[in-house]
Point group: C5
Chain length 372, copies 5
C-alpha cells in the first residue's frame, strides 16, 4: 500500500517531464480525481458554504458587494473548469498549467488583475509517510480561489474558524484568508517536525539501549524526509518575503503584519529542520561508532579465547605425539624421546604449566583493559 | 529527574504546534506557574522594588515623571495579566501570543508606541543540563516590561547593580536597562561555553589516557548542546544588529554604543561556538581513529598468537598420527610409516624445528613493526 | 563502444586547450561532421523548411518582411559557413570561436546587432550515458541561427509544434523561438533527472535486498553524472536571469514572461539535482554501514564457532596426551599420570563437561544478542 | 610546564565570563604583571626611548610639537595607569575594559579624539606552543599607545627600525607606526604558518615511511592550532578593511596605501591557512586509510596461516584418532577402522596430500593478489 | 631531484616571512638567476627583439612614437635593474618588493602613471610536478614590462604570434599584449587540468581493475595539486574582473572585450577544478569502500575455513582421546569409555558425520551469499 502510493507519487512528479509540449497547455491526468467546487461566501454577519457543479456563470455571483468569497477547488478531473477560468476569469494559461502540473515550488507572482501563489501542503498520512501536495492560490479583490489535486483536509481548521466566526477572519478580506490558509499549512510543518523530533529521540534511546540495523534505515528515512521538507520550506520563506515586499493592491497592510508573523514561523521551522538534520547526522555517526565498538567487542572475545587456548592446545598436542620410548619392532630403547611422559608427576606439572600460561594471559588482557 | 525535565521541555516546544488555532490568541498552558509581578522603580536618587498582585490600574503609576520602571513578570498563570496588557497598555495580541508561546527566535520589532524584543536565556541547571528559557521585552518610554515563563534568576545581577546604584544604570533610562539585561544573558553564554570548553579538554585528556565508549556519548551530547546554543546565538546577533540600526525613539544613542559592545560579545561567543564545534568534530575523528587503532592492536595479538601456534600444533598433530610401524594383526612391518617416531633424537629435533619456526615468525612480525 | 565515445568526448573537451593560439580564430576539427543547413521560414499562415548547401547570398532572403526565419546548422565541417557568417552577417570572430570550441558554459551576451547565447544540450544516449552537446544561438530581429556540432534531435519537438502551428510559436517572433528551444532543452533535464531518480530508487531497493559491490559503482556513476549536469544547470540559471534583465530590443516583453517560466523550471531542476545528490550521499553512507554490519556478522560467526570449539578441542587434546600410567620399559607404575583415562565414566563425564561449556557459551552469546 | 601555561591561558580566557558585572569596569587580575611604560619619542632627526613609572602628568610632554610618540605599555598591574588614561587622556571606560579583558577579536573603532584597534599577537613559544596575546592600540594625532598583557618581544623589529632610522618610519607619523606594528604582527603569522607547513610535510613523510598513532595526535594538534589562528586572521582582515575605508583624520592617506599591502598579506595568510587546513584533513584521511590497509595486511596474514594449517591439522587429527583395528578385549578384528594406518605408504601419501592442499591454497591466495 | 626542487620552493615561499623587515625594500635572493632583459618592439609593419644588458638609459628609446614595447625580464639577480625602475621609471618601491617576493596572489592595481598586475604561471615540469611561478606586469601607455623569476617559456606562444604577425596582436597596443600573455597563462590551466582529468580517469580504471595502496597516494597528490591551482585561479578571476571594471586609460575598450573572454575561460577552468575535486573525493570514497569490501572478502575466507574445520578437528580430537577400555595395570574392563572406537563401522560413521557437518555449513554459507 505504501509502496503503491509511492509509485503513484513518482508518476505525478514526472508528469511535467514530457519535454517539448507547448507551454501554457493544461494537461489533465487520466487518473485525476473528480472536481469538487465549494463556494464559501461570508462577511462579518453571515457565512455560507455551497457546493456547485462548475463555475460557469458564477462570475457575477462572485462580485456581490459586501462579501468575501473563497472558491475551494479539489480534484482536477473537470477540464471545463479550467476553460471557464481562462475565458470568464481571464487567468493566464501559463498559470493554469502551473496549477495542474503539481510539482511547483512555493512562489508568489503578481499579475494585472490577480495574484498567484503556491504553497506545498505537507502532512503525514495514516502510515506516517510524508504527503506532499500542492495548494495553489489565485487572489482577487473579493475572491480567493484555492486549488488542490487531492481531497486532504489540511485546510479545515480555517473552515472551522470561518464558520465559528471568531477572530478577524470574517472581516479582513481575501488576502487575510490567503494568509490564514498559508499559516495553517506552515503550522502543519511544526506538527511534522515535532513527530520527527520524537522519532529522533526514540532512535537515540534505541541507540543507547540496543542498536540494531533497523536504526540505520530509520535515520536514512528521516534524512530523506527532511530533504523533502527543506525543499518546500526554503522557497516558502522566499515566497512570504515576496508577499511582504509586494505593492500589490490585493494584499492589505493589515494582512502583511500577519504575514510577517508567518514568515517568522517559517524561519523558525527551517531552524528546527536544520537542527534535526544535524542531530540525525550526529546519530548516524554515533551508530557507526557503535558498530565499530561492537566489532571491537567481538574481536576481543575471539582474541582472548584463541590466544589462551591455541597455545594450550599446542602443548596438549605435543604430549599427544607418539615418539616412542622403545622401538616396537627391535625393542631398542629411545630414552631421549619424550621422557616427560614417563615422569612421575608429568601430567600434573603440565597442567600446572598450562594454568600458569592461561592466567598470565588473563592478567595481560585485564591490564590492557579488555575486560571492561 | 533529568529525563522528566527533558520530557516537559519537549511538550512545551510542541505547544505552539497546534495547527490552525486563530493567530493572536493567548494560550495559557495548564501547568503554567503562578504569575509574580515585581515593579522596580528608580531614578538617580532612589530605588525601590515592590511586588504587586496584578497590573490593573498601574498605568498611571508607571508614568510618574522622573522615574524609570522595570515591570518584571515571571510565570504566565494569570490570564488577566495579558488582558490588562492588551486593554490598558494597548499591546498587540500577536505580541502577547509570541510572549506566551515560549519558543520564539531572538527578535527586535518596532511598533507605534513600544518596541518588542525576545532573548533566549540559556543556563546550566544543577545537573548541567542546558536550560533554554525565553525572556521577552516590551520597551516603552519610561517602562520596560520583561516576561519569563519560569523563576530562574538569570537577571539578578542587574537587580544587584540597580540596588547598589553603581554605574549609569540608574540614570540611563529604560533602553539602557534592556541592554543591561540582554548583556547579562549573553554573558551567560560565555559561562556555558567556558564549562563546555573545560568538558572538551577533559574529554581530550580521557581520549589520550583511556578512551572508552562513554566518550562518544559525551561528545554527542556536547554537539547537541552546541546545536541548541547556536540556534539562539545567530538570531541574537541579528537582533542586536537590528537594535543598532533602528531609528526607534525608545533606544537612546548612548544605549546604542553599549549595544555595539554587546553585539561584539555576541559575535565573539559565536566564534567560540564554532571553534568548540570544530574541536568536538576533531575529537570525534580522533576517537574513531583510536577505535580503529585498537582494533588493529587486537587483531595483531590474535594474528601473532595464531600464526605462531597453529602451524606448531599442526606439526604436533602430525606426530600424533597413529600410522603403525607394524600391522598389529598380521605383524607385517611398515618401515615407511613415520620412521621419525622411532629415531633416536626425533623428539628433540622436532622441538628444535618448532622453536625455529616460532622464532622466525617472531622476527618477521618484529620487523613488520607489530610489537610497537 | 561506450568507452570509445567517452574517449572521443575527452578529446573534444581538451580541444580548446591548445594554449597560445590566437583568440578569435575558428578551429575546425578534422573529424567534424558534414554541415547541414536547414532554413525554416514561417509566419502565422505558412511554414516551410528547406535544406540549403550554404549561406552564401542568403542574407537578402532572410530579411523577407512578414516572416520569421530559423537557420538550423548542424555539423561544423564547412569552414566557408563561418566565413560567410563573418563577412555577410558581421558576426564577431570571438563568437564564432565560441560556437566551434564546444565546451562553453551557458551564457547570454548582447552585441550591437545581435544577441548570442549558449545552452548545454543534455540527453541520455541509447546506452544511458549522459550526452552533453552545445547548442549556440545567434538571435537577430527576424532570424535565429542555431548551431550544434552533432545530429542529435533534441530540438525536434519545436519543429513539430512549428509545423502543426498550434500555440503562439508561429506568431511570436524569433525571441520566442529561442525561448521555446531553450525550454525544450531544460525539459530534457527533467527527463534525465527522472530516470536517475528511478535509478536511485532501484539502488535503494537493492541496498535493502542484497547489497553487493556493484551498488558502489552505480552510486559513483550517478554522482559523477550529477556533477556534470549541475555544471550545466547553474550557469543556465544565470543565463536565463540575464535574459530576463536585458534591455535588448531582440527579446520581446511577451517572451520574457515565458523566460520567467523557464527560469522557474531551471531552479526547480536544480532543486531536484541537489536532492538527488543528497540522497546519493545518503545511500553511500548506508552502503558503508551495511558493509560494516556485514563484517560484524561474519566476525560473529567466526567468533562463536571458534570460541566454542577451540576450548573443547583443547580438552580433547588433553586427553589425547600420552602420559603413561606405567613406564613401558621398567613397568614402574605412575598413578598420578592421567587417572581420569582409567576412571569408569571418564569419557562420559568429559563429554558432559564439554557440553556444559558449549551450552554456557551459547547462552552467553545469546544474551549478548549475537544471534539476532 | 606546557600544561601549566595552558591552564593559565584558560583561566584568562574565562576571565571576562563573570556574567553580570557592570560594563565599563576595568578588572585587574591579581596575577597581572608589573606595568612597564616606555615612551619612544622621535622625529626625522632624533629618537629616544625612556622608561617612566606612570603616565601622571605626561599629557603635556606628549604634545611637544614636531615629535611623534609611542607609549608602549606592558603588564596591567598598575590600576592607576588606567585611571590616568581615563581622567587625563579621556579614554572611554568601555575601551579600557576591552584593553584589560584580553580576549577581544581584532577590531578598529573610531572615537571623537582617538581611534582604537586590537590585534591578536600570535607567536610560537620555546616549546612551539601557540601563544595568543592581545595588542591594543590607541591612536591619537601625535601619540600611539600600545598595550600588551605580557612581556613578549614581538614588536621589537619595529623598535630596531625606529632606532636605526631607515625607511620612512621616522617621518610618517603615528598612523604609520601603528601600521608598522600591525604588519609585524601579521608577518609573524607567516612565520608560524611556515613552521606548520614544515610540520605537515614532516607528518606526510612519516605517513609514507612508518605511520604510527602519534601522527593522529600531531594532526589533531595542528588542526586545533589552525582553528585558533583562523579565529584571529579572519577578523584581522575585516579590521584592516575598516581602516582602509575609514575617514578618520588620524589615518594618513600614505598610511592607507601601506595598510592595503598589509591587507593583501592578511588575505594571503588566510589562503595559506585554508590550504594547510585542507592538507591536514587530507593527511587525516590518508592516515585512516593506512590504518584500514594495515588491518587488511594483518588479516591477510592471519587468514593465510589459518586457512592453510587448520585443514591440515584436521587431517592430522583424523589419523590421530584411536579407532581400533581389533578389540583389545575380545580380540575381534575391525578391518574397516582406519585401514590407512596400516597401509604400506599411508604416511607418505598423507603427507603428499597435505602438501597438495597447502600448495593449492598458496596458489589461490597468490592469484587473489594477497602476497603483494 | 623532485625533492630538491620542492625544498627550494619551500624556501622561496618562506622568503617573505622574515617578519619585521622594512616594507618597500627589494630583497634579492642570493640564488637568484642572472637577469636577462629582452626588448620586443613592434608595430603593424615591423617586429624586432633585442637583448639588452640593463635598462639604464632606455627610457627615451621606449617612448619612440608608433611603436609598442614589451620589456621581458627574466631572473632577478641584477639589483641595479630595480634601482633603474625606481629612479628612471618611477615605480613605487612597494611594487618592486611585490615583484621580487614571488608569492603574491593574482592582483590588478592602478597607479598614477602605470598599472600593476600579477598572474600565477602554472605548468607541469618534465616530471609532471606542478610548477607555480609568478608573472608580474607593469603596464604603461606604450610599454609592458613583464617579470618572471625563472626562465620558463610559458609565454613563448605570444612571441611566436608577434613574430608571425597574424591577428591584431601587432596593432592593438600594450594592454592587448598584456591580455594575450594572461590568456596564454590561463590556457595553460586547461592543459594541466586536462592532464589531471586523464590521471583521474586512469585512477578510476585502476580502482576497478586492481586497487592497491598507491591509488591513495595518487589521489592525495592530485588533491594537493588542486588545492594549489585553486589558490591561483580564484584570485585570478577577481583580478580579471577588476580589469573589466577599471577606468584606467591604459586598458583599451577593445582589450576589455577580450578580457571578458579570458574571464569566461577562467570561470570555466574553476568549474573544471571543482568538478575534478569532487570526482577525486568520490574516488577516495570508492577506494575506502573497496578496502572495506576486501576486508570482508578476507574475513569470509577465514571464517568459512575456520568454521568448517575447527569443529571437525574437535571431533577428530575426541576420538584421539586415550580413554582406556581396560585398565592397563589392573586389567579392569571400562566398557563405557569410548565404545565407538571398537564399533565395527565407527570410523566410517564418524567420517560420514564429519562430511554432513561440512556440507551443512557450506550450504549455510552459500545461502548467506558468501560465495558470491
Amino acid at each position: 500500500m505504501a509502496k503503491n502510493s509511492k509509485g503513484k507519487k513518482k508518476r505525478k512528479y514526472l508528469a511535467e517531464a514530457e519535454a517539448g509540449s507547448s507551454p501554457g497547455s493544461v494537461y489533465i491526468d487520466e487518473n485525476a480525481l473528480k472536481t469538487v467546487i465549494t463556494i464559501h461566501s461570508y462577511n462579518s454577519e453571515s457565512y455560507s458554504a455551497e457546493e456547485v457543479p462548475n463555475l460557469k456563470g458564477c462570475k457575477e455571483r462572485l462580485s456581490a458587494p459586501g462579501f468575501t468569497f473563497w472558491v475551494e477547488i479539489k480534484g482536477f478531473k473537470s477540464k471545463s473548469l479550467f476553460e471557464v477560468l481562462y475565458s470568464d476569469f481571464n487567468i493566464n494559461k501559463l498559470i493554469l498549467e502551473d496549477i495542474t502540473s503539481t510539482y511547483q515550488r512555493p512562489i508568489f507572482e503578481e499579475y494585472d488583475h490577480y495574484n498567484f501563489a503556491v504553497s506545498r501542503m505537507l502532512y503525514l498520512d495514516t502510515e506516517r509517510n510524508l504527503g506532499n501536495d500542492q495548494a495553489s492560490f489565485i487572489l482577487m479583490e473579493q475572491v480567493l480561489f484555492t486549488f488542490q489535486e487531492g481531497y486532504e483536509n489540511c485546510l479545515s481548521p480555517v473552515k472551522k474558524r470561518l464558520s465559528i466566526g471568531k477572530g478577524n477572519i470574517r472581516t479582513a478580506g481575501s488576502s487575510y484568508l490567503m494568509y490564514a490558509l498559508m499559516d495553517v499549512i506552515i503550522d502543519q510543518y511544526f506538527v511534522i517536525l515535532g513527530k520527527w523530533g520524537d522519532d529522533l529521540d526514540e532512535i537515540e534511546d534505541r541507540l543507547l539501549d540496543k542498536p540494531d540495523r533497523s536504526i540505520m534505515y530509520d535515520i536514512q528515512q528521516l534524512k530523506r524526509n527532511l530533504i523533502h521538507i527543506r525543499r518546500a520550506a526554503w522557497p516558502e520563506r522566499d515566497k512570504l518575503n515576496d508577499i511582504l515586499r509586494t505593492d500589490s493592491p490585493y494584499i492589505s497592510a493589515q494582512t502583511k503584519m500577519f504575514v510577517k508573523d508567518a514568515y517568522d514561523h517559517c524561519i523558525q521551522s527551517i531552524d528546527i529542520m536544520e537542527s534535526l538534520k544535524e542531530i540525525a547526522a550526529s546519530n548516524l555517526d554515533m551508530y557507526l561508532s557503535i558498530i565499530s565498538n561492537r566489532m571491537n567487542e567481538i574481536m576481543k572475545v575471539l582474541t582472548i579465547v584463541s590466544s589462551i587456548f591455541i597455545p594450550l592446545t599446542f602443548i596438549a598436542g605435543i604430549y599427544g605425539m607418539n615418539f616412542a620410548k622403545e622401538d616396537p619392532v627391535s625393542g631398542k630403547l629411545l630414552p631421549l624421546n619424550m621422557p616427560e611422559l614417563y615422569a612421575d608427576h608429568g601430567y600434573i606439572y603440565t597442567m600446572v604449566f598450562m594454568a600458569i600460561i592461561a592466567i598470565a594471559q588473563l592478567i595481560y588482557f585485564w591490564r590492557k583493559g579488555w575486560f571492561k
